[in-house]
């Protein structure tokens, strides 16, 4: 296996241009934390983007940050925190989940995060990673260096290739530089905990809370066994299933909304506990990074994106055991675990067919990832179009070929 490590865009262009001429497939690599994410595929070499690292522009008052694709989030986050800002989509770090090993610092890069479009619990309110990418520089499979987007929030100049590249798993272009929108961190964060609810009642609670003007920025449900394993004492101490709603903002606003929300939900359930500041932050960070499943050995981990009101219906249709799932995004995100040796949820395809949405096999051994669709198959017309898009930017299929879908 040849390993390439270009130092600048023109070297990167040359490597890709040559790879295209020879038809040599390459595996793109930032910091390598998501190596096991996606379909297994054959590459003749690796292409490290590690040299494209560092924050080149950060203007807090303009709400904008530009950094090289391989810049560690561990470098970006403290910088933002110092200025009281954040990436509002709560970038998820799947590094520990994919490696099965907890880590006390983030291992991921900005480019990897964007290439996989990973968003955390604030997604229903703040949007996904893709909603925060303002501009990009990159190199196509043929070795053409290009830029798209800009550094301002409001921009409709040309096609939005930022969105096309976000979540493309490195199959269309090698990104070298990314410009993202940043936002102020909320002054206060507080989570209301409800205990002992069924998934169905929890989902009703979500529908009502997220359909209200109380601006809920996190809505998750942990069945009893997962709540018991929480590293937050006030969560594990409840001894039952825990449903959490998060409120963020200026203090008077959080207080007023807490009162309003509690009254609104009174007919369904009453909060039994509150998480303030540090505890609230730690609780949502754990869910963001799928911590409940990190150390579960020999287990396949699935992530289902669903119409939010259907989260509990999916739990019922899949007949999930309480220790094997939790709901986030107000029911719109269902995490589930299934022993690798067992048949993978047989009702998965039928459930998604009935409810809408799609599934991603986030973690599994290579055999399972080769045998099962890691990303759900697309409708024929959509798949054909995706193939033509791949062919227009990477005609010789040298960039991560097959990582997303066979033939892409």
């Amino acid at each position: 296996m040849e390993s390439h490590k270009p130092q600048d865009e023109s070297q990167l262009a040359e490597i890709l241009s040559e790879a295209s001429a020879k038809g040599t497939p390459l595996e793109l690599e930032g910091l390598g934390s998501k190596r096991g994410f996606g379909r297994p595929f054959q590459a003749d070499g690796t292409l490290s983007l590690a040299a494209f690292s560092g924050v080149s522009l950060y203007e807090p008052e303009e709400l904008v940050l530009t950094a090289g694709a391989a810049t560690p989030l561990a470098e970006i986050e403290p910088l933002l925190e110092e200025a009281g800002q954040m990436l509002a989509f709560e970038p998820a770090d799947y590094g520990p989940l994919l490696s099965g090993q907890a880590s006390d610092r983030r291992l991921d890069s900005l480019g990897g995060l964007i290439a996989c479009n990973l968003s955390g619990p604030r997604r229903p309110k703040a949007g996904a990673a893709r909603d925060h990418v303002l501009g990009l520089r990159g190199v196509t499979g043929q070795g053409a260096c290009f830029k798209t987007g800009g550094r301002v929030v409001k921009n409709v100049t040309g096609y939005d290739l930022c969105k096309l590249l976000t979540g493309s798993f490195g199959t269309l272009a090698a990104m070298t530089e990314i410009t993202v929108k940043v936002l102020p961190r909320p002054e206060k964060t507080r989570s209301l905990l409800f205990s002992g609810l069924s998934a169905e009642t929890a989902n009703q609670l979500f529908n009502r809370a997220l359909g209200s003007a109380y601006d809920v920025s996190g809505a998750a449900h942990l069945p009893a066994p997962l709540a018991a394993a929480s590293n937050i004492d006030l969560v594990s101490g409840l001894g039952e299933a825990v449903t959490a709603l998060r409120l963020e903002g200026p203090e008077p606003s959080v207080m007023a909304r807490q009162a309003g929300l509690t009254a609104l939900l009174a007919a369904l359930a009453a909060p039994v506990e509150e998480l303030h500041a540090t505890r609230s932050l730690a609780f949502w960070k754990a869910l963001r990074d799928a911590q409940p499943f990190v150390s579960r050995a020999k287990t396949a981990i699935w992530r289902l994106s669903l119409p939010p009101a259907s989260g509990a219906a999916a739990v019922a249709a899949l007949d999930l055991d309480d220790s094997d799932y939790w709901l986030d995004w107000g029911g719109g995100l269902l995490w589930l675990a299934c022993p690798e040796s067992a048949p993978q949820p047989p009702a998965l395809a039928a459930t998604l067919q009935a409810l809408g949405g799609h599934a991603t096999l986030v973690r599994a051994n290579e055999g399972l990832r080769a045998a099962l669709p890691v990303f759900m198959p697309q409708a024929e017309g959509v798949a054909a179009l995706a193939g033509r898009i791949k062919a227009s930017l990477d005609p010789k299929a040298v960039l991560n070929p097959g990582r997303l879908y066979a033939g892409l």
Partner: protein, 497 residues
């Protein structure tokens, strides 16, 4: 007009009657328009400086008809210009002499409202405001609010990725969509996304939004709807200089406050608006800010006080917080009437739409004053200060020989300046034909070729809305043979159109 469009295909124009007859077999009766006086209705959109009657107008009623019309046009090599309400300010729906207008006006139904999933499924001809009207009784609304929202359609909003005054907090169209049904030029019907938050595979939803009708025709849209904030208050702030107003905006954001609306007007715009609607604007200031906070009452009151303090520190000479809904509306009345107000003091005006990094505002306004002298035309500025989107209104008189050309040259200078200071050519109006020839100010040949190759994946014969967005048309076969050298694509020299 100075605009050069692709050379009309004589053979298509010669077959006009036969094409009309065939199209009537797909869309019967009045769905195909071929009479000159009726075609004239469609000869321009919101950018009225350019006019061209279309070959024919087709008004389908079903997705199946759209599919058959497009497949037919592809077979016959007929160009297609999609059109919603025709409110584009960049000429996105400007017809072609050898192309049909595909009007989506009959797709005007709200198909489903799903409050539990906080979304609505609508046809593309539903107006932007129509969506909010369909859900407001339940306390919901659709967030993007372009100023033409009473007339513009959601299909057009998708094509242009329309914005509005609340973008900084609530995003553009692209941030408020969940799904689309679209038809490709070969007639293929695709469904993308749904009611779930993230779609799988490539983000076609994101790519199609803002593609200005060059990639596909939208036949159904699933939008996010949001609970309406329970209260809103506005602050009216006047400053002796635009620098101070700009500083104040920066300080508000640095304090961690993202207002729902944050608008700035310069002196000519303030005076025009005040003369027109008597909003009570101070006339002795150089810049006026309207800062609107929305959300729970406790939050709004808290933040209004904070913003007022910041404004005082930054030297505001006028500071008034709205005490009731009527007063809030009156603060907005002048801003919302800014365009017609300028229309009152000038026979014609030309509305520009660049975006700049906010800190560059004083420099841009200064340079604009110099340009105003050079081109001998006045300019008034309204500015979405929160997101850097600038709308200079150039005042001219189309009846005076040479003034339109001078206004266009002035506009081009302004947009070039926007790019020079790190901004972009268009924030929300789209490239269309208006900014097409300026694309090379922002993108090099390779940047544009990469975009055009994506176009080839959708429309290899370049039949959907050709002549818009890109300054040069390249055949897809040529783009496929392009030679890459040192990271840049090399073309043989090609004539423009």
């Amino acid at each position: 007009m100075s605009l050069v469009m692709p050379k009309p295909d004589e053979s298509v124009m010669a077959r006009r009657a036969a094409l009309a007859a065939s199209l009537r077999e797909i869309v019967p009766g009045e769905g195909v328009i071929d009479q000159a006086e009726e075609l004239a209705v469609y000869e321009s959109d919101g950018l009225t400086a350019y006019r061209q009657p279309p070959l024919l107008v087709v008004l389908p009623e079903t997705t199946q008809q759209v599919s058959e019309v497009l497949a037919f046009c592809k077979r016959e090599g007929v160009k297609v210009v999609p059109r919603g309400a025709g409110t584009s300010l960049s000429g996105g729906a400007l017809p072609l002499a050898d192309g049909i207008i595909l009007g989506l006006g009959k797709f005007n139904r709200v198909l489903e409202i799903d409050y539990d999933n906080r979304c609505a499924v609508v046809q593309p001809g539903v107006t932007n405001l129509g969506i909010t009207q369909a859900v407001q009784h339940a306390g919901f609304y659709y967030a993007p609010d372009p100023s033409s929202q009473i007339a513009c359609t959601i299909g057009g909003n998708v094509a242009e990725n329309s914005g509005g005054v609340h973008c900084l907090k609530y995003g553009l169209t692209t941030n408020n969509l969940l799904g689309l049904e679209v038809v490709l030029i070969d007639g293929t019907i695709l469904r993308i996304g749904g009611k779930q938050m993230d779609a799988s595979g490539y983000d076609l939803l994101g790519l199609l939004t803002g593609s200005e009708g060059l990639l596909a025709v939208v036949t159904e849209v699933t939008v996010r709807i949001l609970p309406k904030p329970p209260s809103a208050r506005a602050l009216l702030l006047g400053f002796p200089t635009s620098e101070q107003a700009g500083d104040c905006v920066g300080a508000i954001i640095a304090a961690g406050i993202i207002p729902g609306g944050l608008e700035m007007m310069d002196k000519p715009a303030i005076h025009a608006a005040e003369a027109f609607v008597k909003a009570g604007y101070p006339l002795d200031v150089e810049a006026l800010l309207i800062v609107e906070l929305d959300g729970p009452e406790a939050e709004v009151d808290h933040l209004i006080a904070q913003v007022a303090r910041i404004a005082e520190e930054k030297g505001a000479t006028t500071s008034r917080a709205s005490q009731d809904e009527a007063e809030r509306q009156s603060f907005w009345a002048g801003r919302k009437a800014a365009f017609p107000a300028v229309g009152r003091i000038s026979p014609d005006y030309y509305c520009m739409d660049g975006t700049i990094p906010r800190k560059a505002l004083p420099q841009v306004l200064e340079r604009m004053r110099e340009m105003s002298e050079k081109h001998d035309l006045a300019v008034a500025n309204v500015f979405h200060a929160g997101d850097g989107n600038l709308h200079p209104l150039i005042l001219y008189d189309a009846n005076k020989p040479g003034e339109l050309e001078r206004a266009e040259a002035f506009g081009a200078d302004i947009l070039t300046l926007c790019v020079e200071v790190g901004g972009v050519l268009t924030g929300e109006h789209g490239v269309g034909v208006e900014k097409r020839d300026l694309m090379s100010q922002m993108f090099d040949e390779t940047d544009l070729a990469v975009q055009q190759r994506v176009k080839c994946a959708f429309d290899p014969d370049s039949l959907l809305n050709p002549g818009k967005v890109f300054p040069e048309l390249h055949r897809c076969a040529e783009l496929g043979r392009m030679h890459v050298s040192r990271g840049k694509l090399r073309f043989p020299d090609l004539p423009r159109f």
